[in-house]
């Protein structure tokens, strides 16, 4: 299928110039390049402008609840591990109300991809500060400057245990597409922060700000790979390699200002994927995951052998 074929007919109601459009295009391209069939993909959206993404893609789309996109997506993936499951949502959705799930989902190395649209504001509720807004920053919708420090999504993902961590930018279509593909291909929990200008509410960090620095006259954004950055912990890596990759990710995560890295920050290939581990415990899991444990036809008999199951309860 072509990228265009992953586009739905219904009218998109994001604002003109919204970074979300760029992300949408990149997702379509990624799906096309991965050669996935629409019914094999399920995109779960949080609540916010960003959360509307699933409506605009010609794949299974689930519009969940504010802050809960990760547990919803997790449930689906656990129940049917052959699907490609993607969670998308805003920075308020994921790091404000959803921070508890963000952290705890990282602990499971479940093979799903989480795209976080970072526009530093609560778009759909009219521009309040998101947890990503920096100390002292004040966008036009805020009454006063932020008195709180911000959450650094890459750092939080690293701390939480995600095994693939990247950052992209909404308007760099090709790079973003590659990152999304890479994230989906990663067999484990993949977290991709996407810097997303919100032209309506974020007057601090708009397209111009990202793509132009007074100092260099160039974009602030640079690709980690351009500097020879190697994010991956190999399958049989030793403790040293783990520490080294962790430390370099910490360091890169702090960079901000005139130079902002994008690309893959961290990838741990040595960690066993979660459903693999489940199938070691529940041998039938691959063949009969939760989605396939009960026959679909009407009025069947229970498949469980109750006699045998009740034996240990029989006096």
């Amino acid at each position: 299928m072509k990228p265009k074929e992953f586009e739905t007919e219904i009218k998109n109601d994001w604002c003109a110039g919204c970074g979300d459009y760029g992300i949408l295009r990149a997702m379509e391209k990624a799906f096309a390049e991965l050669g996935l069939a629409p019914h094999q993909i399920a995109v779960f959206g949080g609540i916010g402008c960003s959360g509307k993404t699933p409506y605009y893609l010609e794949v299974n789309g689930i519009h969940t609840l504010h802050g809960r996109v990760l547990p919803f997506a997790t449930g689906a993936k656990l129940a049917n591990p052959t699907m490609t499951v993607i969670a998308v949502g805003g920075d308020g959705d994921g790091l404000g109300i959803g921070a508890g799930h963000f952290v705890n989902a990282g602990r499971r190395n479940l093979d799903l991809t989480y795209l976080l649209f970072n526009n530093e504001v609560y778009g759909l509720t009219k521009g309040q500060a998101a947890p990503t807004i920096r100390y002292g920053d004040k966008t036009k919708a805020m009454t006063t400057a932020s008195l709180q420090s911000h959450i650094n999504p890459v750092m939080l993902a690293l701390t939480s245990g995600y095994t693939w961590i990247g950052r992209g930018y909404a308007y760099y279509l090709d790079q973003l597409t590659t990152l999304i593909i890479d994230a989906i291909r990663h067999k484990g929990s993949a977290f991709l922060e996407i810097l997303q200008p919100c032209p309506v509410y974020n007057d601090l960090h708009d397209k111009h700000w990202y793509e132009y620095t007074a100092a260099s006259g160039q974009s602030r954004l640079y690709a980690l790979s351009d500097e020879g950055y190697e994010p991956s912990i190999s399958v049989n890596a030793d403790e040293n390699m783990h520490q080294e990759k962790f430390a370099q990710c910490v360091q890169k995560a702090q960079e901000w200002g005139d130079r902002i890295p994008v690309g893959v920050f961290y990838q741990d290939l040595s960690a066993p994927e979660f459903t693999q581990q489940i199938s070691q415990q529940i041998k039938s899991y691959r063949e009969r995951p939760p989605a396939k444990q009960v026959r679909l036809e009407q009025n069947s008999k229970p498949m469980v052998n109750m006699q045998s199951l009740l034996r240990k309860f029989t006096l």
Binding site: P54, G75, A79, S284, K301, P302, V304, L309
Partner: protein
């Protein structure tokens, strides 16, 4: 034979649970019927806990207030239970606690302490255990002092073990003494010891020896051996020994549970932990499968993860108690809005907030009926006893999938910690109803997830499985599942969703809605719901025997409320008594809202303890005799 109540009390961590299990199985194996229940504090070790084991020659329906034999592993147990022992009963205590002054017992509630000390002080007696026991003896109770220390010393000598190890057999010794007094054989006791400790040979050896020592000890006491179970008619057919959480879990497994999410919480956790240990479930075709059990980070995740799983066609459930359910209500609304079948097993406990984590209450009924902002259909069913738990848990999934909505299965602490001898579950009649699933033959590219239909049911596509893609949304949506704010779409979708409840009310058979018991001609009608069933059935049975006929109705389906069915039963000339385990009369409110008719008496209990048959009979008698108040509140002064 009249039912026999044996009670054992002691500090948590001292093996009360295991003692009760041992004693229950011992009696059940004799062919007797047994019902056991447990009361305990929200604490890991040290606070008081007790277990009741009630034994009969007919199925035992409920527990009772007054033990015939009370075993106290510590002084506090004497204080809490001595007043309840039947005047012909026995009280077995540790001889070393006799001089314990009540003020030394720091875990006694001041109120209880006062209640205990008052009569002693009045009589100018010492406030100690000895005097309490003397008083009891004056009332006809036989105290039996038990010198555990000597027995422990023997065990230490024999097994060369430290004191603390020997002391661990205290609970088994207590059971053995009871068994010896009741005329059961030491072989039978040792047999059960071997079963219960089966993977720990040293424990079996130690405890078997302890049993022998206890029997020897009893022989030296010169007490007449009681023989309540001798020569009684007993059951010879297969029976199960299950408690409420196990019964629910087994029902779920029978239904083909695919995934259960949970966050630990008393008294629900045990169900999920039990399921966790059952990850290899035998299938009829000789293969195995097993549900995935996931401990989540909180209950917000538990309900939403279950919903996510349900979208794939998995039968998905979560299990919790009040505080957890409070966190699930937004997710519940999502399930309602998106017509996602999900089952929530709710074990009620004392609320609000952290409340009384390990005490029973039927305090969540109205909450459950209305939980979640906005309006959406749900089905609420409540089990009356351990046996019903199994069938209801099974059925819950059928309801959920047929009507595509969340189903709340109301349980409580009382059911969770009650174990019973039961006839084997009848599983041959069980049929799995998956509702209308969208089949893949259809070739158009999108499924219309929310196709408008007369009865409200839209064929349900499953993620991936149905091959057609679809959208679903917790925002109001049109047939394709895309957002719509059109007033007309809104109205139609609301009506479509609500229509499913009309369908459910029509289709669900009468016996899944209500149970009718007792004398149909009686002029008194007792209506209730949930775990009060056992006490009610036993009470009306006694009343009927005493020529005070009463009819009882247990409402099982609480929403959609079987108003029409009840209306047919509730004749205007009947006196209505509503009974429930809460303060505000939540079921009475619902009843009045739905039937509009007057309630003559309300029996309520809201002190964290379940209704007891004796007090129930008393209240019903006073109603029958016309001496009762409109509102009657049941208490437990001691305990």
């Amino acid at each position: 034979m009249e039912n026999y109540l044996w009670r054992i009390g002691g500090p948590q961590g001292s093996g009360i649970d295991r003692a009760a299990l041992l004693f229950s199985r011992l009696c059940a194996k004799q062919g007797l019927y047994v019902l056991a229940r447990r009361e305990y504090h929200s604490n890991i070790t040290g606070r008081h806990s007790y277990s009741d084991v009630r034994i009969g020659t007919q199925p035992v329906l409920s527990h009772s207030a007054s033990p015939r034999m009370l075993v106290c592993l510590d002084a506090e147990s004497v204080c809490r239970h001595v007043h309840n022992v039947l005047s012909t009963g026995y009280l077995i205590y540790d001889s070393h606690i006799a001089d314990t002054h009540l003020s030394q017992l720091k875990l006694l509630d001041p109120l209880l302490l006062e209640n205990l000390c008052k009569p002693l002080q009045k009589a100018n007696l010492n406030c100690n255990i000895r005097e309490l026991l003397n008083l009891a003896e004056q009332h006809g109770i036989t105290p039996i002092a038990m010198d555990y220390e000597t027995l422990f010393q023997r065990l230490r000598d024999e097994f060369a073990i430290p004191k603390t190890n020997a002391e661990r057999s205290r609970n088994v010794i207590a059971v053995a003494i009871s068994a010896a007094l009741l005329g059961l054989t030491s072989e039978d006791v040792c047999h059960e010891v071997a079963e219960i400790f089966h993977n720990k040979p040293e424990a079996v050896a130690l405890n078997s020896e302890a049993v022998q020592l206890a029997y020897d000890y009893v022989a030296t006491l010169g007490i007449n051996v009681l023989q309540p179970f001798a020569n009684v008619e007993v059951a010879r057919d297969d029976r199960l020994w299950v408690n409420g959480v196990q019964s629910v879990a087994l029902g779920k497994l029978a239904a083909g549970l695919g995934i259960q999410t949970y966050y630990p919480i008393s008294p629900a956790t045990d169900e999920s932990v039990f399921l966790e240990s059952n990850y290899v479930v035998p299938m009829n075709d000789a293969t195995h499968a097993g549900p995935v059990i996931i401990q989540t980070e909180d209950e917000l995740a538990a309900i939403t993860m279950a919903c996510g799983a349900a979208l794939t066609g998995a039968r998905a459930a979560t299990s919790t108690s009040g505080p957890g359910f409070s966190l699930m209500v937004e997710g519940l609304g999502w399930a309602g809005m998106t017509e996602t079948p999900v089952v929530v097993s709710l074990y009620q406990r004392g609320g609000p907030a952290t409340g009384l984590p390990t005490r029973t209450e039927q305090g969540d009924l109205q909450f459950v009926l209305h939980a979640g902002h906005g309006e959406f259909p749900r089905i609420v069913l409540a089990s009356g006893d351990v046996e019903e738990c199994f069938y209801d848990a099974f059925r819950a999934f059928n309801y959920a999938e047929r009507y595509q909505l969340p189903v709340i299965h109301l349980l409580d602490k009382n059911l969770a910690s009650t174990a019973q001898t039961l006839p084997p579950f009848v599983t041959d009649d069980l049929v799995i109803d998956r509702g209308e699933i969208l089949h893949t033959a259809d070739s158009s590219r999108h499924a219309s997830r929310f196709l408008l239909s007369k009865n409200g049911i839209s064929p349900r596509p499953l993620l991936e499985e149905s091959r057609q893609i679809f959208w679903t949304s917790g925002v109001e949506h049109n047939e394709t599942g895309h957002v719509s704010e059109s007033p007309e779409v809104r109205r139609r979708m609301k009506e479509k969703r609500e229509a499913k409840l009309v369908l459910a009310a029509k289709e669900i058979p009468l016996d899944e809605k209500i149970g009718v018991y007792g004398d149909r001609q009686a002029s008194l009608m007792l209506i209730s719901w949930g775990s009060n069933k056992g006490a009610i059935l036993e009470a009306i049975d006694r009343m009927n025997q005493e020529n005070r006929p009463i009819q009882a109705i247990m409402v099982k389906l609480l929403w959609p409320f079987p108003a029409r069915e009840l209306e047919m039963l509730v004749k205007s000339n009947k006196k209505l008594i509503l009974l429930e385990c809460n303060q505000t009369g939540q079921f009475s409110q619902l009843f009045r809202q739905e039937l509009g008719c007057n309630i003559n008496h309300r029996l309520l209990k809201y002190n964290g303890r379940p209704f007891v048959v004796e007090e129930l009979v008393q209240s019903l008698t006073s109603i029958f005799d016309g001496t009762a108040e409109e509102l009657m509140i049941h208490n437990n002064l001691f305990e």
